[in-house]
């Protein structure tokens, strides 16, 4: 049987997976870095990393 293990994943991919994917319940999610709360979510608002937000911005059609 293949045990599920993720130690071989580069950090950049872990950040992508853990901050942008996975099940989200109604609740509160706070992402803090170095003691500073960067993002707080309530209810089912989806969380996106800064990189993802930049990507959406880049791909948004011009008016």
């Amino acid at each position: 049987m293949n045990d599920v293990a993720s130690s071989d994943i580069p950090l950049v991919d872990i950040v992508d997976r853990l901050l942008e994917r996975g099940v989200v319940l109604a609740g509160r999610a706070t992402i803090s870095v170095a003691g500073v709360d960067l993002i707080e979510l309530r209810l089912n608002v989806l969380l996106a990393s800064v990189d993802a937000l930049h990507r959406v911005e880049r791909e948004r059609p011009l008016p």
């Binding site: 049987m1 293949n2 045990d3 599920v4 293990a5 993720s6 130690s7 071989d8 994943i9 950090l11 950049v12 991919d13 872990i14 950040v15 992508d16 997976r17 853990l18 901050l19 942008e20 994917r21 996975g22 099940v23 989200v24 319940l25 109604a26 609740g27 509160r28 999610a29 706070t30 992402i31 803090s32 870095v33 170095a34 003691g35 709360d37 960067l38 969380l47 990189d51 990507r55 880049r58």
Partner: protein, 209 residues
């Protein structure tokens, strides 16, 4: 919160460091903590290790990092509100695992990080990124067509960052892991445009929503 499992599997999946919060058919596994977790490498890897351990024990939906509930009652209420969709999610994912294939460009492409010096440069860079994205989409389509997998069990993101054509997530049974890994690696070796790095088996983050 760390993951969602079927209530019947909760005891098997839990360990002494986890709190089990039960609804009728699904249960949440969580870690008691005093405040919001910080997104440090250590905390992220710990969360990943815990969700991996849970998914090794029984089918689960791994939680996005950083979801904090004030207490077990708050988590129980949230669980109850989404119980039906969580149960369906667990049923559809089952005991499958995720394989992650990162397709790296063999040669340097347009960089999104370089600030354009003029409007023309901006438009040229934007056009180059769009061409790169379209090429990445074609490569992913070709890869998935060559894999013995249903299209519904593959998800991808094109050009997620410089140097990467795509990250492809595949939902596979444990028996399919090595076959699929071999297929993907062979694709990368034969491609003149991308190399392929395969990670996993992993908890099904890309298929849990």
């Amino acid at each position: 919160m760390r993951a969602i499992v079927r209530t019947a599997d909760a005891d098997r999946s839990a360990s002494t460091d986890l709190v089990v919060v039960r609804a009728d058919e699904v249960a949440a596994l969580a870690t008691a903590c005093a405040g919001a977790p910080e997104a440090t490498e250590s905390e992220l890897r710990t969360h990943d290790a815990i969700t991996s351990r849970i998914h090794s024990a029984s089918p689960s939906l791994p939680s996005r990092f950083g979801q904090l509930f004030t207490d077990e009652d708050a988590l129980a209420r949230a669980l109850k509100e989404r119980e039906e969709s969580l149960r369906k999610g667990l049923d559809s994912v089952g005991a499958r695992v995720e394989l992650s294939a990162t397709l790296h460009w063999r040669s340097a492409r347009a960089s999104a990080g370089t600030a354009p010096a003029s409007g023309t440069e901006y438009l040229e860079a934007r056009a180059a990124r769009e061409r790169e994205r379209q090429r990445a989409e074609q490569i992913v389509t070709r890869l998935v067509e060559q894999l013995p997998i249903e299209r519904a069990f593959a998800r991808h993101r094109s050009c997620p960052r410089d140097g990467v054509a795509a990250i492809v997530a595949l939902l596979v049974t444990r028996d399919e892991v090595e076959t699929m890994r071999t297929h993907i690696q062979s694709f990368g070796e034969r491609s003149s445009e991308v190399t392929a790095a395969v990670h996993g088996p992993l908890p099904p983050y890309s298929f849990a929503s």
